[in-house]
């Protein structure tokens, strides 16, 4: 069951980290540029990870060498490096857009944007299917449909078509309030 403890630690770490970022970009005294925050935090992440790697090297050199060897493979193979750079660039764009989405709607709970951005999993299933022929199971199709419904709910009545189903209920709610 140790895996569960690690997964919960990971969940709490990301939750608190996102709250800190939300404070700096949206809810604090000053709203920092989301791109600037991403650059500063990732510079520190590199430093933290490299310090971690050095510490592992000190105690368990074999494990650190495995990481160092992989870094060498990444750096010396242009065919792999280009995709690693593309991965980093896409992650950067994702982070900036995600923080900026929170900054654009300070009255909306950031959990809503997080839920929508977690929809990335759909692309990570569909793209390997298109380019590598990885099969999509029925269970995955059901998961994708559920995710789409969740987006409609999270986007509230702003989605045309499906959103109209909910906008009627919203209009009634507004009428009742007034």
């Amino acid at each position: 069951m140790f895996w569960l403890i690690y997964a919960i630690i990971s969940c709490l770490s990301f939750g608190v980290q996102d709250t800190l970022n939300y404070h700096l970009t949206t809810a604090g005294d000053y709203q920092f540029s989301t791109a600037a925050l991403n650059t500063v935090i990732h510079s520190f992440i590199v430093i933290v990870l490299l310090i971690g790697l050095l510490t592992i090297y000190f105690f368990k050199p074999s494990k650190a060498i495995n990481v160092i060897d992989s870094l060498k493979i990444l750096a010396t193979n242009p065919g792999i490096l280009i995709f690693a750079i593309l991965a980093g660039t896409a992650a950067m764009a994702g982070n900036i857009l995600y923080f900026y989405s929170q900054q654009s709607a300070p009255n909306i709970n950031p959990g809503v944007m997080t839920a929508i951005s977690n929809g990335a999993i759909i692309l990570s299933i569909v793209l390997p299917f298109i380019f590598y022929g990885k099969k999509i199971t029925l269970k995955q199709i059901i998961g994708i449909i559920i995710l789409f419904f969740s987006f409609i709910m999270l986007g509230d009545d702003k989605f045309k078509g499906f959103g109209k189903l909910f906008s009627k209920a919203r209009k009634k709610e507004h009428k009742d309030r007034s």
Partner: protein, 173 residues
């Protein structure tokens, strides 16, 4: 007059939609990020995932620093808008002692989150289980934002988040 108010309303609705389009664009970017990582792992099987994490953080930091130097040039400084508003000034401010506890803690938590997720993969019956629990960070984020910043969720949004968690759990397990 009526025309003006209709136009104004349309403009306001467009602004209201902005966060949603940005969130969807971020999902697309994260999806591409996952896919490119998948391609790297396909091309070099057995590659260490911590090395890949270091590489991604390194690319983001280097790109950010390159952008910093581009904006230092007078000709390009005017492009500091939207997500890049006051980019260079904010990078300098974020390194000040007042904000360092936030930024360093955020970086440490990110590293802890990634490493514990990878450690979780080792013992989990299926790596997707570990992913599903980790993805539930919407819950602490939503609760903390509510307690500290009083940003609520309506019933539809709470239901949407629960459905999103259910969807990601089905997809990752």
């Amino acid at each position: 007059m009526e025309n003006f108010s209709v136009k104004q309303e349309k403009k306001n609705t467009k602004t209201d939609h902005k966060w949603l389009y940005l969130a969807i664009a971020s999902a697309i970017s994260y999806g591409l990020y996952s896919f490119f990582q998948f391609v790297v792992l396909q091309k070099s099987k057995g590659l260490n995932t911590i090395a890949l994490t270091i590489n991604v953080a390194l690319v983001e930091a280097i790109l950010g620093i390159i952008i910093y130097f581009i904006f230092k040039n007078k000709h390009y400084a005017k492009y500091q808008k939207d997500a890049f508003t006051n980019y260079n000034k904010d990078i300098s401010s974020l390194k000040k002692l007042k904000y360092l506890p936030y930024t360093i803690l955020s970086a440490c938590l990110n590293a802890l989150g990634v490493i514990s997720l990878l450690l979780g993969y080792v013992g989990a019956p299926n790596p997707g289980f570990s992913d599903a629990v980790s993805d539930a960070y919407i819950i602490p984020l939503a609760i903390l934002s509510y307690f500290f910043y009083k940003v609520k969720m309506n019933g539809l949004q709470i239901l949407g988040c629960i459905l999103a968690l259910l969807g990601t759990t089905i997809l990752s397990t």
